[in-house]
């Protein structure tokens, strides 16, 4: 016993010794290395293989990257600079191409003086999304709003937006951001207006065309709410009213209003679209349209009504069974056959329709998984509360089902955004192949293979990786159970 000991022994240390540092092999970097890289023969072998791979990659690409040239007017000049600086036979990347032609990768053949319009449309996208995507975390929302505002203005100014446009942009964006912060619910209405504003900014022309299209939706909504007690018939009537508006009244009315108050932007035709402006336009439109369509298809496929179920199954399985390329070819070759003789509509719109249908079928399967994953008690509880089908879906089932399916939904989005590159095969100028080929076909940049791919690939990576990280954030934020 130590206390008895202390009385019998003459000398006793009264203070504790300071703890010794652990042995060198058991701490710090060495321990980490031993545990993570050299813990056994297999591990050592794997580490060596890994180092070999890194060595090979760095050896193959490293010099080429470090010898890169950023200021040159042509490929030949690039090669000359590399040869002068690093000696004959040295290879180097020629990112001068990116510096020279970045605008084509981003904007295609969009008129240079109007670059601020797609930029503004893209910036406004974040304002429109902020109340939806970052509704719970005020800090994240403010960061997104602030960044969108400042970046849009700065980029537009750098891209030589005219002064009045810049001032208008600043006022509109500040007003909208304030609306989002102060009155979230009206801000949602503004988000609904966004697609029409974006279409106007991108394609230009008279504002009244888009405004009348929007008015059709508004009128349909008013009819539906006004006759809400008639249930589904109100909905049918609303559809008829909106269709009548678009077909009969919208055109003449837009022309008349344009005569009274011409609010026009310089029109930009669809064949001037290209690069990431095209990709993002198709991608965002497809995402926005395919989600509601996917929800409807998923509900139809789980419906008790056999006719509706069979129709949904046929549609979904057909779309999922054929490659997107064939659907795009249908859009470019066959769609005109299906419509009344003489109709011919915009090729970007056709592609958006096909991409939407394609993504909606996949989306429907993802959401169906979410619906199936919901415990049966939820459906029974909704019934017990006396909710009708649509109320039960809207208030009880879908919020939970969509929450479960977020990872799948976002990966469908990512897949669709990547698939927008396939529009090159129906003659549109995607950033990846068509733009690279166009630039490579020019005299100055003949023989530039890797630089365009690296540039475009990096942008795609940032966008897609960002989306997948956002979905992880959303999953964490919405996870209320299993804590």
């Amino acid at each position: 016993m130590s206390d008895t000991h202390s009385e019998t022994v003459a000398f006793m240390r009264e203070t504790m010794l300071p703890p010794q540092p652990p042995p060198l092999a058991q701490s710090g970097a060495i321990r980490w290395l031993r545990e993570n890289l050299f813990s056994g023969p297999l591990n050592i072998a794997l580490t060596l293989v890994g180092l070999g791979i890194v060595w090979l990659l760095v050896g193959a690409v490293g010099p080429w990257l470090t010898h890169s040239v950023w200021n040159a007017g042509s490929m030949a000049e690039c090669r000359q600079i590399v040869a002068e600086t690093w000696g004959q036979g040295a290879t180097g990347a020629c990112f001068a191409l990116v510096k020279h032609r970045w605008n084509q990768f981003l904007f295609g053949f969009y008129p240079q003086a109007l670059y601020w319009r797609p930029v503004l449309a893209f910036g406004l996208l974040f304002l429109a999304l902020a109340p939806l995507l970052f509704s719970e975390s005020a800090r994240a929302r403010r960061v997104v709003l602030g960044l969108a505002l400042v970046l849009t203005l700065v980029v537009s100014a750098v891209l030589d937006a005219p002064g009045p446009a810049l001032a208008g942009m600043a006022v509109a964006m500040l007003g909208w951001a304030a609306l989002v912060e102060a009155r979230p619910r009206p801000a949602l209405l503004a988000s609904l207006v966004y697609p029409f504003a974006a279409a106007w900014l991108l394609w230009g022309g008279s504002l009244w065309t888009e405004a009348m299209a929007l008015a059709g939706f508004a009128m349909g909504f008013v009819v539906w709410r006004g006759l809400a007690r008639f249930g589904l018939f109100a909905f049918a009537l609303a559809v008829v009213a909106a269709a009548a508006w678009w077909l009969l009244l919208a055109g003449p009315l837009a022309a008349a209003l344009a005569g009274v108050l011409p609010l026009r932007l310089q029109p930009v035709s669809s064949d001037q679209f290209g690069g990431f402006v095209l990709s993002i336009t198709i991608g965002v439109a497809g995402i926005a349209l395919s989600l509601p369509l996917g929800v409807i298809l998923a509900l139809a496929r789980r419906s008790d009504l056999p006719v509706i179920k069979v129709l949904a199954v046929m549609f979904i399985e057909f779309i999922r069974g054929v490659p997107l390329i064939t659907l795009l070819f249908v859009a470019s070759l066959l769609l005109n056959y299906f419509l009344p003789p003489g109709t011919n509509f915009d090729v970007i719109l056709r592609v958006i329709i096909m991409v939407t249908l394609f993504a909606a079928a996949y989306m429907a399967e993802v959401i169906r998984g979410g619906l199936a994953g919901l415990p049966k008690g939820q459906y029974e509880a909704a019934d017990a509360l006396g909710l009708d089908y649509w109320k039960a879906q809207r208030l009880i089932i879908l919020p939970q089902a969509l929450k479960i399916s977020i990872p799948g939904i976002v990966s469908t989005f990512i897949g669709m955004f990547k698939d927008t590159t396939l529009v090159v095969f129906v003659g549109l100028y995607d950033p990846l192949k068509a733009m690279s080929d166009t630039i490579r076909a020019s005299f100055e940049w003949k023989g530039a293979y890797w630089e365009p791919y690296i540039f475009v690939g990096a942008i795609f990576f940032v966008l897609c990786f960002g989306m997948s990280r956002y979905s992880m954030y959303l999953e964490r934020r919405l996870k209320h159970d299993h804590r």
Binding site: G50, G321, V322, K418
Partner: protein
């Protein structure tokens, strides 16, 4: 005593079609059905009118006319005098070829990458994470174009292999020569060929049939062996060692046949300007195969990782507690559970790969879209028929694969009692 006689159903009135939930669903379905039929007939009517305006009729006659174009990569004999139908079949076989090769290679790559991503080795796990994230987040088209550029820009021309001190060396024991136009690989030769079974213009070598029969027989034998081993185990409690018997059942006859037919590899040799004797694989095929493998492999790696993580540690601990050896723990406890999670998404990746093979258009590989939906369509001007046929074939392929998946799902479903 009061007896409850039950409510009497009210007589049917027309208004019940709207207000009674029992009948409303019927009304709704009828309306939807009529609307869909109207839309369909509208589209068909438009199509017929449009075709008539252009002076075209719907007819599949063009399939039996002379195609008049060449296909560089073919699995069955084909020349430009053959019909469009045969060209389409050659294209379909090319689609299947690149899909099957891609599925096999992507599975191997994906399993390796998925397992290594969970490895305790920091470096390897990070490398695999980078591989997976980079390949998943960049469009497949870019990988196809990059692989194409790799082959056309970096690989040497065939005549770089010429001479005493060639600029390029063949790889893999001097068996494979990648060039900027094709990849020369060895072909299989026989010193004692058994002749071929003629089936029209195609022929199947008897040697191939013999190998197929032997392997099928060995598979059947392995089944019998396993059921015998199980019986013995049930009776005596001891499982006889069977692995070397089943190995021998495969290896011995195969080796015997190989020796009998004198099977050997004929390496490609440079003759004139090109390689001869071996098989010159069109680079379009190699590029597409490589890109599809790398891209789909990244997705499969994630699936495999999720499947392994889905089996909790308690399962293997419980198996060890029951006294199962590690190998049988793996085959009886871990794998069946992991596979239940892995296989359905894996098969849908196979489906994606098959559909993505239509990106062959970017490298000029003549797959189904390249023949039927490409050259044939352009030459005959039969967009409608060619597209309908092509979509039907792709649809049939997908439905066959998903039918296979459904069979598997039913077989491995948790049997809850």
């Amino acid at each position: 005593m009061v007896t409850y006689t039950g409510a009497v159903d009210p007589p049917f009135r027309l208004s019940m079609l709207i207000y009674d939930r029992r009948y409303r669903s019927l009304t709704l379905q009828a309306i939807v059905f009529i609307l869909v039929m109207l839309a369909a007939s509208w589209i068909i009517d438009n199509t017929l009118k449009n075709l008539a305006d252009l002076g075209k009729t719907l007819s599949f006659d063009f399939l039996f006319r002379r195609a008049g174009y060449d296909i560089p990569q073919q699995l069955i004999p084909y020349n430009s005098d053959d019909t469009h139908l045969r060209a389409a079949v050659v294209g379909l076989l090319n689609t299947l070829l690149v899909s099957v090769l891609g599925c096999i290679a992507a599975t191997v790559l994906g399993v390796v990458a998925g397992v290594l991503r969970l490895s305790s080795n920091w470096l390897i796990a990070r490398l695999m994470t980078v591989y997976v994230e980079v390949f998943r987040n960049i469009p497949l088209l870019l990988w196809i174009l990059v692989c194409l550029a790799l082959f056309t820009e970096i690989m040497p021309p065939p005549n770089a292999y010429r001479g005493e001190n060639p600029a390029a060396g063949m790889i893999l024991f001097d068996m494979v020569a990648p060039t900027n136009r094709y990849t020369a690989i060895p072909s299989i030769g026989m010193t004692n060929p058994p002749g071929t079974l003629a089936l029209g213009r195609e022929g199947i070598s008897w040697a191939f049939i013999a190998f197929a029969v032997v392997i099928a027989a060995a598979l059947a034998g392995r089944r019998l062996l396993r059921s015998w081993a199980r019986r013995v185990q049930d009776q005596t409690g001891k499982r006889p060692t069977t692995w070397w018997i089943s190995l021998a059942m495969f290896a011995l006859p195969v080796l015997l046949l190989t020796w009998y037919f004198g099977l050997h590899l004929i390496p490609p040799v440079l003759r004139g300007f090109n390689f001869a004797d071996g098989i010159n694989l069109d680079n379009a095929l190699v590029v597409l195969w490589l890109a599809l493998t790398l891209y789909t492999g990244a997705f499969i790696a994630e699936i495999v990782r999720a499947g392994i993580l889905a089996v909790s540690r308690g399962q293997s601990e419980a198996a060890f507690a029951l006294g199962l050896r590690p190998r049988r723990t793996m085959s009886l406890v871990i794998l069946p559970q992991a596979l239940r999670v892995i296989v359905p998404p894996l098969i849908s990746q196979y489906l994606n790969l098959t559909k993505n093979s239509s990106l062959a258009i970017a490298v000029g590989y003549m797959d189904l879209r390249g023949t039927l939906g490409g050259t044939t369509l352009n030459q005959t001007g039969r967009e409608m028929e060619a597209m309908v046929l092509m979509m039907a074939v792709y649809l049939a392929l997908s439905l066959i694969i998903s039918a296979g998946m459904n069979i598997f799902n039913v077989r491995v479903r948790l049997k809850e009692r």
